[in-house]
Symmetry: C2
Subunit: 160 residues, 2 copies
DNA sequence: CCTATATCGTTAGTCTGACTAACACAACGG
DNA sequence: CCGTTGTGTTAGTCAGACTAACGATATAGG
């Protein structure tokens, strides 16, 4: 998704980025999201994991076994991409995929013991990474930050 | 980049998204950034503009004429993508591209009167869009939010 | 029961945006 | 002069978000 630093070439030299740009919340948001994403993706990669793994495992842990479509809804991963994610998880024995006897269209996905252990490990990894992400903020500020993000996100999530 | 809503299928039904996921700042950040980006991109599209147009115009306005490479550094747009952006801007007569007499490798990019008018217009559009983006927050909260974002971004920008 | 419609897992493919590589050319420093 | 470095440009890679369509079921309504 993203690899390098800025726009080609070496260091920024002078910070000539226009103020108009630097102030806009949308730009701050997207820039920070990019860095955050890099941090998380790289951090998880060091543990041979990907964010989607975490999302699926967490969902299974919290709400129990589910069909792929259901997992897709919980995690925000597209049904079509779920296949691949589950293949990866199954290849690592973190998850089991078995046909649903009650509905033969479905597969029932179950988290394994290994999967639960893995989730725990990933939770620690993510804790550390978030510590790095939010390093400049005090605990109170971190809370506030999360709270602001949550309010904004809620507001922009289906106000239907 | 992104078009639809969530992961396929209709409304979320129950909000079965695991708490672990919903609390993580990285996830809030990336989700919100996605919505924000959609908002901005769509809003600008209604005015036949794109974010890169704004970035370049703003940079020209604030720091004066520059080479393409220089603009690239200021705006964070890759040198290779700058070409296309400037083509679009030139096609709309918002910008003029002329060879630099002092350095024949360079093009000097200058903002036009039309371009200045356009920038002003885009600034208004963006003000409105940000108003929508930050709707749930009080003025003080908006400031605080921007300040938190800035601190975080600064911290993660070349701590070299 | 029969038929229409919706859901499931899966495959394939599109589109966009970030990013790399390599080019011909010109400038610059020794 | 020569090697190095910056410039504008073209081409292309890669990943992730997303759509379309498939055969297989299930489910609801008449």
């Amino acid at each position: 998704m993203i690899r390098g630093e800025a726009a080609d070439v070496p260091g920024d030299g002078a910070q000539k980025t226009p103020d108009r740009l630097r102030r806009r919340a949308s730009r701050l948001l997207s820039q920070l999201a990019v860095r955050s994403d890099r941090l998380i993706t790289d951090g998880l990669a060091r543990d041979d994991a990907r964010k989607w793994h975490y999302a699926v495992l967490a969902s299974l842990q919290e709400y129990g076994p589910a069909s792929q479509a259901e997992l897709s809804r919980r995690s925000g991963i597209y049904r079509s991409d779920m296949v691949g994610v589950l293949n990866e998880l199954a290849a690592r024995d973190l998850v089991e995929r078995s046909p649903d006897p009650g509905d033969r269209r479905r597969n029932v996905i179950t988290i394994s013991a290994e999967g639960r252990r893995r989730l725990q490990r990933l939770d620690e990894v993510l804790d550390d990474l978030h510590d790095e992400l939010l390093a400049p903020l005090s605990p109170a500020e971190r809370d506030h930050f999360v709270q602001l993000l949550t309010r904004l996100l809620d507001h922009h999530t289906q106000p239907s």
